[in-house]
Subunit: 471 residues, 2 copies
């Protein structure tokens, strides 16, 4: 059987999404984020048609990013014309995003998103609107899914885009882009196209224009299939989260804003639940963790001696004897943070993960890269320290002698904002041994006569792929 | 950092897999399923090297499927030569799989797998061996993952290939095919190639040669990323399963081999847990269910009146007032099974799902296809019946009159084995109204003057894609 997805069926589907997830309540006043692209034009059209049924107020807002030159001006003119014609109140905002990105040391897309949402929230407040409707479709959600899957995300990263997140609602989240385009065609809606949408160098576009068409060779309805999968993941994730939270509460003791957890009680949990309990605890303290961090925390549960892991969001987990202590780091300047490395193991600072490993004779072959260092274990002693650059820091370079890190960063064209975030490996005497990715103190390198090797490998802890640009 | 995955690192990885999942115990006597392809040759080589460490006995067995003509003869000669050279005891078996498949009405691949495993188990028994090592790699697991994801599987279908399943162990499940090939190259191992591996029309080969190379453009380690995802799914799946089992036990009453469950207690569970509880119950009774069945069971929980769902594996779920009753169907001949359809709703027979829906005026547009039928509601009454063909069945065809189903099937070239499995829609007077996909009794069709429409849509319940050919 094939039910033709006619215009009414499309409207019905959106209505079902709205009701199932209670996206809109009777009398809501909705702001539609209107880019002028097909998705947001269709969203506005559909909400206008649903408005009488739910006594909705519908307004629109458009943000001009100060990027894409004439094309963006054209988009603005288009939505102005459209809203005049449809009798919809429109607010237009503008930001010079490229400049913002430079100033704040952010990527352009991230800065654009921040500026856009800040504008939209200002409009909501100013006009007294109750919710913000954005035009993400099932296709967007499926693209995000594949982006994360390919780069290596965990199931909690793959639950997809939620139909509602706070005041942001997504009425089109159950329809595909094809269905949206079909709706626009049937209703003779015009819209603008963003030329950057075809840029295959962007990961999302690659997924959209190369990967998904390939998958559709095997299953034209692959978006539905993956969407259903994400739905189950989402439902099961919330089951697991709830369970983990209650187990975490029963195992932990809170004390002066810190939480302590006994390692042995964690160790008794099945591995999957242990990971979940730790993650919930971290979230409850306002921190965050990626796969690599959770993996490292596994070492904290099982290993011996003092060790600590720094997590994104300013949280720190310390192993102290039988306990793990979850604590907020004081509001130090980044340069004051230092991580003590008492022996082999895994340690983290900021986004970086350091793996210290003693290598036995005849063990694995090691390729020394800018991100690994093979040290002569007899020339360096634990404890070592991982920290950021401080004023006056120098490193000893062969044939050069001592060189200021400041000069070295400048010569190597390390961007200013990266300089304070690059971790340094320092020995107990305060000698800087290594600037991972850049230079090392050759005096401690392993050589022909080395008997005991220490391998230090660094990776940037990023594992979930790019941030969800759809939040 | 890049650790060169040298031959020793490969061996170490396999050893780690073996120990982590306890695939082999000291003194085990292992049978290696040896096709002669690179995976199984490397598996044999690695196990021979690990043998002294664990005091393993290692033997091999090769199955000639009677397919692929000369190529299969060449493969057999190759493994015979290899085992002579390596001093490994080899058993060779042969089956005429194509014939078997015809006889039993199975697909060739399925029949091949059955015949091969039957042979391997005979060898194990005959030689007194304790486990069977098969050469599935991480790459196979990832391929299976994508095959199922694309065709639409649920998370429990995506947990991947287990390192151990009963006496079958998979020591290569943590290494990729590339790593296996690299190992073979370093050790100068020769192996044969199966020409059907390159046949892109086969879904697995399509995933292997088209999809995965594309994904590797974005992440060369995509197999590890997906493998890690599957590992978490597996761990969390077992948490959920255990929890669902204990909730199911607390909510259900067993009585004379049947299980009863109150609908209201099910309805109170979160949707994700409800699905899990029902699935566990079905599994505990030796049945099985796919997504479509679980979806249908959702209707049983929430709807009204009598209804029943037939599940694969001879299980039946009946809604009786406040209860769902899970019961084994008696060992009837298929032709005796019949499903009573008391009113609109979803009903299943075998693999088929029937959706009865009363269509309101001006509702969705319906395209009548061979798999849907638009009936004039005033010409037919509930209850209807869904059942299989019985001797002497006839259907009334316009301009033809009554025709024997037997003749109709023959004329339409329906394969013999399908004839008994095709569901029929029958009214309460015993008139056959419809043979979905084939013919209908035009006297009940909706026409211009129809006031009340009944839409009956049928789909084949298959949703998990093909069976895992790797079990």
């Amino acid at each position: 059987m094939r039910l033709v997805m006619g215009p009414e069926a499309f409207l019905e589907r959106v209505r079902k999404t709205v009701e199932e997830h209670r996206l809109l309540e009777r009398g809501d006043r909705v702001l539609v984020a209107l880019s002028g692209g097909v998705d947001s034009v269709v969203l506005l059209h559909v909400l206008l048609r649903l408005a009488p049924r739910y006594s909705l107020g519908v307004e629109a807002a458009h943000f001009h990013h100060g990027l894409r030159g004439d094309e963006a001006d054209r988009d603005q003119a288009f939505v102005e014309h459209l809203c005049r014609e449809w009798g919809v109140h429109l607010e237009v905002g503008r930001g010079e995003v490229a400049e913002l990105a430079r100033e704040r040391g952010r990527g352009v897309e991230e800065a654009a998103r921040e500026a856009r949402y800040a504008f939209l929230r200002r409009v909501m407040e100013g006009r007294g609107l109750s919710c913000l409707a954005v035009a993400h479709t099932l296709s967007d959600a499926v693209e995000t899914f594949f982006m994360r899957l390919i780069k290596g995300a965990s199931p909690y990263g793959l639950r997809g885009i939620l139909p509602r997140k706070g005041e942001v609602v997504r009425p089109l989240i159950d329809v595909t882009r094809e269905e949206v385009e079909e709706y626009a065609r049937i209703h003779g809606l015009s819209y603008v196209e963003d030329s950057t949408n075809r840029d295959l160098a962007r990961f999302r576009n690659w997924v959209r224009w190369r990967l998904l068409p390939l998958l559709k060779e095997q299953n034209p309805k692959v978006e539905r299939a993956v969407g259903r999968f994400m739905e189950i993941l989402r439902e099961e994730d919330s089951l697991l989260r709830e369970r983990a939270r209650s187990i975490g509460l029963s195992l932990s003791r809170e004390r002066e804003g810190e939480v302590e957890l006994s390692r042995s009680s964690l160790a008794e949990l099945p591995k999957g639940m242990r990971r979940r309990v730790v993650l919930e605890l971290i979230h409850s303290l306002g921190g965050d963790a990626r796969w690599t961090h959770l993996e490292t925390l596994g070492y904290l549960v099982e290993g011996e001696g003092e060790a600590r892991v720094h997590l994104p969001g300013g949280l720190m987990v310390v192993r102290e004897g039988e306990n793990l202590r979850f604590t907020r780091e004081l509001d130090k300047e980044p340069e004051d943070v230092e991580v003590l490395v008492p022996g082999p193991g895994i340690y983290s600072l900021g986004e970086y993960l350091f793996h210290f490993q003693e290598i036995r004779e005849g063990g694995e072959k090691v390729v020394v890269s800018p991100w690994s260092l093979l040290i002569d274990r007899d020339k360096v002693d634990f404890p070592m320290i991982i920290r950021y650059k401080r004023p006056g820091d120098v490193i000893y370079l062969e044939k050069v002698g001592h060189k200021k890190l400041q000069d070295l960063f400048v010569d190597a064209k390390v961007p200013r904002r990266e300089r304070g975030r690059t971790p340094l490996l320092v020995d107990s005497q305060g000698r800087i041994l290594w600037i991972p990715g850049l230079r090392w103190d050759a005096r401690v390198l392993a050589g022909g006569g080395t008997k005991r090797h220490l391998l230090v490998a660094v990776r940037r802890g990023a594992c979930g792929g790019e941030k969800n640009s759809s939040d």
